[in-house]
Subunit: 204 residues, 2 copies
């Protein structure tokens, strides 16, 4: 059926339209401005229309999140390509930290906000993050196979590395680094340094 195909295509196009508007709102005006009404305004539709394509805001944010993750994966593919697995691991971490610090609102949506995760139910998996996390996991696996890091289990290594990176980034984004008496630039340097230092500590 050609017609229902086109209908489906139109629907996807409208969704893309909505996602793009939301994304733009997020990056340029900040999260607080990304209300359903303002997104609707931007694409020149009424607020109700968005609910013909998404059952609620969480579902929409989940799709925006997906878009963000594909940008992160792109970044990995561009910046983390060293043949040596450990160096590649360093590149991944560096890209990840920079991505977080330069795009705090987007990082928030991807790794901190609860609302986009509301529709990822128990025993379902979080598809959005699969590619990005696989990129890390594969690299970690190679590192372990070649005995480049002091870990035995891939998942534990990946979790620890992710944990360290995310911890520092999210403390900064959440303004908790105000406890340190450093200015913003010093803090960012400290975060990069801490992650590098950690990688050196697990190196063997």
């Amino acid at each position: 059926m050609g017609i229902s195909d086109r209908k489906e295509r139109d629907k996807q196009e409208m969704r893309k339209n909505i996602i793009d508007a939301a994304m733009h709102m997020f990056t340029h005006e900040g999260y607080e401005s990304a209300s359903i009404r303002k997104i609707a305004d931007k694409i020149e539709y009424s607020p109700g229309t968005i609910y013909l394509y998404y059952k609620d805001k969480d579902e929409l944010l989940y799709d925006v999140q997906a878009e963000c993750f594909s940008k992160l994966v792109e970044l990995f593919q561009k910046e983390a390509t060293d043949a040596d697995p450990f160096k590649r691991l360093e590149q991944i971490c560096h890209s990840y930290v920079r991505f977080g610090l330069e795009n705090p609102e987007i990082y928030d949506l991807m790794f901190m906000m609860k609302s986009p995760m509301k529709n990822v139910h128990e025993h379902e998996d979080w598809e959005n993050a699969n590619d990005a996390l696989s990129y890390l996991a594969k690299c970690v696996q190679e590192c372990i196979e070649k005995s480049l890091i002091r870990f035995e289990h891939v998942w534990m290594a990946a979790l620890s590395i992710w944990g360290m990176g995310h911890g520092l980034i999210s403390l900064q984004i959440g303004c908790r680094m105000k406890i340190m008496d450093m200015d913003s630039d010093q803090i960012k340097e400290a975060i990069y340094a801490s992650v590098s230092n950690y990688l050196n500590q697990i190196k063997q």
Copy 2:
């Protein structure tokens, strides 16, 4: 002046009243239920009254956060008392992780939510967290002085340890651990294991 003293005491008492109600709301009904109106309802005042004691909700949440931090410090003082600095460090981390995993809403308020931090301005310090962080920092300092951990700078060690702990806890609270195909209990075990493992890695 005795009268203005009593006035001040009354004011503090009312604040305590509000904080307690908010805290109870937070822990028992969850963050979403902790609206100004519901807090006002609980203490049997009108919503407007709360604004005679707090200029906005952020300021109120900041005070609730303070209460939470004093509970965390109490926990440290109860559970992290080993004479050996490294063992004490392990106790601190263990208490911190357990506190986070058992009180996700409170942990959120303390370490994740932006709103209570809105009134902590640039070049001001985040008083609420001082005692808790000092507890960690002092312990770390002793560890470094006795060459028990592979770190030279206190602040970098503290930041790294905090970063790792917070990273893992907040990923779990923010539902990001759904990427791992483990159930909730397994994930919690993995978090404890990762933190312990990290401490062993920095041990020297």
